[in-house]
């Protein structure tokens, strides 16, 4: 089983980490550098799942999630956000915006694969 995944983060090192982990598990990963870039790519192609950072320039993750959920095409697409342990309030806000789940930073490759597969039911 596999699928297509959109990974959004302003830090290229995190994007590479996400991409490497998921690619080696058989997923096709597309990268985007911020929320606006993410929305553009999400609208251009279908993705089975979106992994996004929250704190990004130009458009942050929360706004992007809210925007995506407004369009019927992106309603129901699982969105996993990356967060740090201390951000309990942020977690709540991201879920309110429409996020599906989260992954706590720092994470290792096995963790992100596990979470993605869990959410996709694989």
């Amino acid at each position: 089983m596999s699928g297509s995944i959109l990974a959004i983060d302003d830090s290229s090192s995190i994007r590479v980490a996400v991409k490497t982990a998921l690619s080696s598990a058989g997923f096709a990963v597309t990268e985007a550098a911020n929320g606006a870039d993410g929305i553009a790519k999400a609208k251009a192609n279908h993705f089975d799942l979106i992994v996004t950072d929250l704190n990004m320039p130009i458009m942050d993750g929360l706004t992007m999630i809210e925007e995506l959920r407004k369009s019927p095409a992106h309603m129901g697409v699982p969105i996993i956000f990356l967060t740090t342990e201390s951000d309990a309030g942020l977690k709540q806000r991201a879920k309110a915006a429409g996020a599906t789940g989260w992954l706590t930073k720092p994470f290792d490759p096995a963790q992100i694969v596990k979470i993605v597969k869990k959410v996709l039911g694989q």
Binding site: L49, R69, M75, G76, V77, P78, I79, Q92, K95, G98, A99, T100, G101, W102, K118, V119, L120, G121, Q122
Partner: protein
Amino acid sequence: MSNAEAVATFLVEVRELFEQIEQGLLDLEHRLDDRALIDSIFRSLHTLKGSGAMFGFEALAQFTHHCEDAFDRIRKGEAVATSDLVSAILAAMDHMRAMVEHPKKNHGATSQKLLAGVHAAIAKALPGAGEAAPGSVTWRVKFKLPTNALANGINPLALLKEMRDLGPCEIVASDREIPPLDQLNPTECHLTWVVTLTTNQPRSAIEEVFIFVMDDMSLTIESIDGHAPSEPADASAAVAADAAASNITGEQPIAAAETAGSRPAENRTGESVRVPAERLDELMDRVGELVIAQSRLRQLAASSQDVALRSVSEEIERLSNELRNTTMVLRMVPVGTLFSRFRRLVHDISHEIGKTIELTFDGETTEVDKTIAERLVDPLVHLVRNAADHGLESPEQRLAAGKPEAGQMCISAHHAGSEVIISVKDDGRGIDRERVRARAEQQGLLAPGAAIGDSELLQMIFHPGFSTAQKITNLSGRGVGLDVVKRTLETLRGSIDLSSTPGKGTEFSLRIPLTLAIIDGLLVRVGRGRYVVPLSAVEECLELPTEMDLRSQGRNFISLRDSLVPFIRLRELFNTGTPPDRHQKIVVISTGNDRVGLVVDQIIGDHQTVIKSLSKLHADVATFSGATILGDGSVALILDVAQLLALGQWQEAQMRIAG
């Protein structure tokens, strides 16, 4: 105080303690979270342990220590009291008593076993403390996702799959919270799931499944008992899960689980309740009333603009249909119970007349209304006797005809739509047409030499006083018989057909409705009156064009796919005195091979008909078999199909005679 005295005091005290602990445990069973009770049991156990150690009951003290420990953990909130634990401690209590009464005996083995039970129970009572849980635990996980879960990318199927990965489980979805269609937002999730999961994973593993949604949803996870389901649940779980996914599962399993507080997988087949037949009749009556009330509601709703009223009306219509069907099924008995008595009858007959008869049955499990089954006994006895006596030849005749010596007789039953067909078949000589004709002519039923169809000729044998038997035997042939059978069938709204091949055998087929009380009917209008035609008899409905109506005056036949079908103008038959409708319709009714068309002014639609019998005054009125009450409270008469068919046949015969 000497030591012996102290021990004696201890023994008295210890019995009181046992009493207290036992009472406490029994109360706790009903109030598992009663802190005061838990504290008091803990104190009693603690005293028991301390005193036991002081007065030389070392084994008791050690044993009690484990129980005390268990309650200590509950007291501190590390574990919760469960009924499993209560049972385990109660069993341990009995053992403590034995240890006090027989201090010399070796209690080691029993102690070990009971302590294992206590430990297992406490391990299960620890939230998330799976590391201590030996073996599998069955959990009941009830959850309802947040309504926006689907929109937010939560896939319920993924959650269910994750749970299935933990162990065998049975999944039941409840759709009771799904709002009516007009208020339903398809992106919202309104299903509630109950998953009975048996797993060796800790509770935290189940919680892990819901990690992303746990804060926003209702989720209860409770252990229901310590052992795995007796059946391998995989297959049924898969089915249940699929059903849950496609949201077609009924709610009953959940309701059962909630009331019984036990696993919904419990196998309840084979349980039955005996109910007096009158109560079933009463129930059927009530259902009948309900159906009438429901059709009034439907009529009200249909003429109303109120969408909510319509939706309630549809809901009630569906429920009352289901209730009707369920009630009907309650009254059903397999015809096998009816058939079995013929074994003896055929045995006796075959000895009496010196014929060997092999009786076989088919379709014994076919179910039929109990009342009908009882009233079918006499007709069937008659047919079986007839077949044995007239139908089957003597052994010599059979051998001469190249047939096996033993005559074959088969009684079979099967469903056909809303009817049951029961047939009695033999492989005897068949009906002798010449003798039937001779007898019919002799009785004046048939003009000598008149042309008559084969099936009409065979129908002659149902006339009163008709018998072709050359000699009257003890069994049959006295001329009372088939006409009675036919009449009985008609009172049951059934009919009888026969087919017979000379030299090969005869088959009588009884067609009977599944139930007597309620039928599906076709509501028609003739003049200003409304009538119900039993739907099971309706073959088709056609238009009677005006020009054809005028052309056929006096002849009253229509050509239906190359065969002539007589029709009856109900308007004339009932003397309505109204002009015919511009677009009259013909309802073609049939039983078996006979067909007749009924000309009506309008076909209104189908109507669930609760049959009310006519009063004694009207009991002799032919053409009507009963009455029913329509939605608006008015009465509609139910047409008697058999009588109308006979009328049609007569009309046909008249025409043939007229040439």
